[in-house]
Amino acid sequence: MKRFAQLFNALDASTATGAKVDALKRYFSAAAPADAAWAVYFLAGGKPRQVVPTALLRALATARAGIAEWLFEASYQAVGDLAETIAHILPPPQAVGDVGLAEWVEQRLLPLRGMAPAQQAVNIDAYWDELDASGRFLLVKLIGGGFRVGVSKLLVQRALAEGAGIDAKLVAQRMMGYTDAKRAPDARAYLKLVTQEPSAAGTAEDMGQPYPFFLAHALPQPAELPLAEFDARLGAPGDWLIEWKYDGIRAQVVKRAGQVWVWSRGEELVTERFPEIVALVQGLPDGTVLDGEIVVWKDGRPAAFNLLQQRIARTTLTKRVLADAPVTLIAYDLLEWQGADLRDVPQAERRAVLVAAVQGRIEVSPVEARATWAELALLREESRERGVEGFMLKHVDARYGSGRKKQQGLGAGTWWKWKVEPFSVDAVLIYAQAGHGRRASVYTDYTFAVWSRAPADAAEAQAVVDAIAKREPAQAGALQLVAFAKAYSGLTDAEFKRVDAVIRKTTLEKFGPVRSVKPTLVFELGFEGINRSPRHKSGIAVRFPRMLRIRDDKPLHEADTLQVLEALL
């Protein structure tokens, strides 16, 4: 644990890629394979299910520190991270020991799950006593299921590959599914990642092995890449496969040895969740790997993402669920065919093989061909009616890459997302809450409101603001500000700093961590989708809201209204 804590601190402290890779290599060369196995698992994003409820950890730490609940809460609000709060609030350890990571996880942490709370408390209390602050921080992160560190999976793969003297792409491939929650890594699994021997395929668990996903990048914003420059910078539309971008779950479907595996983009094995997909692919020959999007398909078109989301949340798939939200696979790439790896075959050829292979059995993502980018831009405007997010641009000559590596220039092998412009409205900031992690104790999470109807003039809007400042409750039927969305991204650090200062100056009341403010700021909010929602006070739920900019030029009374939102439904 000590060694892993040192690694964590080094990764956490550094922003330089080189320094991170060095720290990883140092760790992997020194750690026992069984410990390294778990380190890779956690660093690559693996999360065992939470073994102890957060509330218990919190209560235990509060008791151990001998402080009142409110004082723990005040501390937590200042720190912005539960594990870190616990790490600092506990009295100093009695005897710092050094037990390896694998033993910590396998012998101590995982067995906590299902233990009686009283026994959990006794064990955790003892564990805290043998760890320093950074060890305690990690322990709580690991048992609370909240471990995260600023290192990408690609970087971990690179460090492993450089340490072992093998190709990083090979490590990436071997690592697929490594963090799947149903598998526990061990020394053998780790050594297989870094062995110099060619991979020994054929064992049962290797059969379902997927390929690393090739991830897309967002095309530069129109300000940076105007439509007029598409020809010059991307080339002719004919150089690209242009497909609709579906809003579903990216998936890789593997058919080998008579069996089907469905992998999510997060490398979780999700086969059981999608029996329809298994049925669809079962008929394909062994040695087939498809890449595509799982969507709920209704009335001849993809349904809104929230229907799919609801389905994923269901633990048992009743007939009713299957009928309400039937899924299908829209295939758009073929990575393996008749047992041969096709990833180095150009995009257009892969597509041709795909069409020939699955036509009639599985929906293949349709391609839109137009002579000019202008025509395509016009067509893209239909995205919302079609229930899609815009276009995907894939160069006809592109090989199927690995991960999210950007190529030089726009015309090369990258996959581009050319999404429709988000919906946007001008909204008023009414509540704020401090962020977490790097944004702890800076007010970065905001709640926004629109007017219940258009104010007659600035004076009417100001009267509402003054009433809010005097904490007068809103009159039924009178003009008021209606909260409808929370957002915490889209501003630069400097902008957050500025807004943070305004929030402190205009605070009206504090409700625990939340502050209500006298409304003074208008923001342009962007969001991807909008639906009716009985669970929200405004009656509306927006998808992926974020701040596009601060509208210093907009007076409060010119912020948008509920009617404007409803018109977008």
């Binding site: 956490d12 402290a13 550094s14 922003t15 520190a65 402080i67 009142a68 409110w70 004082l71 005040a74 501390s75 609000q77 200042a78 720190v79 912005g80 991270d81 870190e84 709060t85 600092h88 609030i89 100093p92 401090a434 977490h436 992690g437 790097r438 944004r439 702890a440 104790s441 800076v442 007010y443 700093k497 943070d500 200062a501 402190r504 100056k505 605070t507 504090k510």
Partner: protein, 366 residues
């Protein structure tokens, strides 16, 4: 029955009515008792200043020509019937607590102070000034910069071992070690604490005048160089460079090339604060008392009434009330957090760099 309060809050600052003087006022006044020379406590423009004798050099170095009367620690003067004396606060050179006695009442205003939370151990004192001295009183006015139980400082030898190890590793790799901390107080503590045998020590021009004042007051700082003293640039590769935080990403800092940078402050205790700084290392070294230190200091005064100033006032007040003490707060302009968030350039102590955790500007007086 209690007499009138010996210290009250006025727009100019904390005021002693029977003595007709202010303590660390933030607006110009006729008579100011100044607890220490940090900019938020010792401001320009007062007609007369009273401060502890060891503060003279640093006060003059910062404020220039002022009408200054000094008082050795522990010596009492009588002013309009108020017995005034100054007692070491352990914060920086010359820092003092102000003891006032009048009509049978004793009040102590702490200013900023540093004292370890453990039983007294000389190794945990601030080595650059006289250690904090507990003063018995009826009413104690305390700071609360780090008034949350998450703030608990590690023993100094552990902290300096970390700094030394970082410097040594950089020196071995031929890389300068750029250590940022406030020019007055923090810089000198760093100088006293590090192992000067590892390599040469270079200080920023803002630090050197204060070093001079410390040396003149008899504090044995190790030898330091100014950048202009260095003719052979190769020397930087083994050097520890001590500079104020304002030099981060500056042209001045660029001369050290591929340096490792670090920041020394109590705020570095928290990961969020470290990451916002985006330095290679954050060393948790503070000139303020941590949570156990605050508790111990308050308890040692024997005061039955405590007034909390700058920091986590709400928390401290509630906690003290739960301990059975009479507690309240003063709204001061010391170390105002909103300046802190936006200004890293102030050459000041760390109270000004407070993370914006608990509002000071939106006081909730009960």
């Amino acid at each position: 029955m209690k007499g009138a309060d010996l210290i009250v809050q006025r727009p100019e600052g904390l005021y002693c009515p029977p003595g007709d003087f202010y303590i660390d006022p933030w607006r110009p006044v006729a008579r100011a008792v100044v607890t220490h020379a940090h900019a938020d406590h010792a401001r320009r423009g007062h007609a007369h200043y009273l401060a502890a004798a060891p503060a003279e050099g640093v006060l003059r170095a910062r404020l220039g020509e002022i009408t200054l009367q000094t008082l050795p620690y522990g010596e009492v003067i009588d002013h309009f019937g108020v017995r005034v004396s100054l007692h070491p606060a352990g914060h920086v050179l010359g820092s003092a607590q102000v003891r006032l006695e009048h009509g049978g009442q004793v009040w102590v205003a702490s200013g900023d102070y540093f004292v370890a939370g453990s039983e007294h151990d000389a190794r945990e004192d601030n080595a650059t000034c006289a250690p904090f001295e507990p003063v018995r009183c009826h009413t104690f006015i305390t700071e609360s910069t780090f008034g949350l139980p998450i703030y608990r400082w590690a023993p100094q030898r552990e902290l300096f071992a970390e700094v030394n190890a970082w410097w040594q590793a950089n020196a071995d790799a031929g890389r300068a070690s750029l250590l940022m901390g406030y020019s007055f107080g923090k810089a000198q503590r760093l100088l006293m604490g590090v192992d000067a045998g590892i390599g040469p020590i270079v200080v920023h021009g803002a630090v050197e005048p204060l070093n001079r004042a410390y040396r003149e007051a008899g504090v044995a700082l190790p030898p330091t160089l100014l950048v202009t003293d260095v003719t052979e640039k190769a020397l930087f590769k083994r050097a520890l460079v001590i500079a104020p935080p304002s030099i981060a990403n500056s042209v001045w800092a660029r001369r050290f090339g591929d340096a490792s940078d670090a920041f020394a402050s109590g705020w570095m205790q928290l990961r969020g604060a470290r990451r916002r700084r985006s330095v290679d290392r954050g060393f948790v070294l503070s000139d303020h008392a941590d949570w156990p230190g605050l508790q111990r200091a308050i308890q040692a005064t024997g005061a039955s009434r405590v007034i909390v100033t700058h920091g986590f006032e709400d928390v401290m007040v509630r906690w003290l009330r739960e301990q059975g003490l009479e507690a309240g707060s003063f709204d001061t302009e010391y170390g105002r957090e909103d300046d802190a968030v936006t200004s890293d350039t102030a050459v000041n102590d760390e109270s000004i760099a407070a993370p914006a955790a608990v509002p000071i500007n939106v006081p909730t007086h009960e």
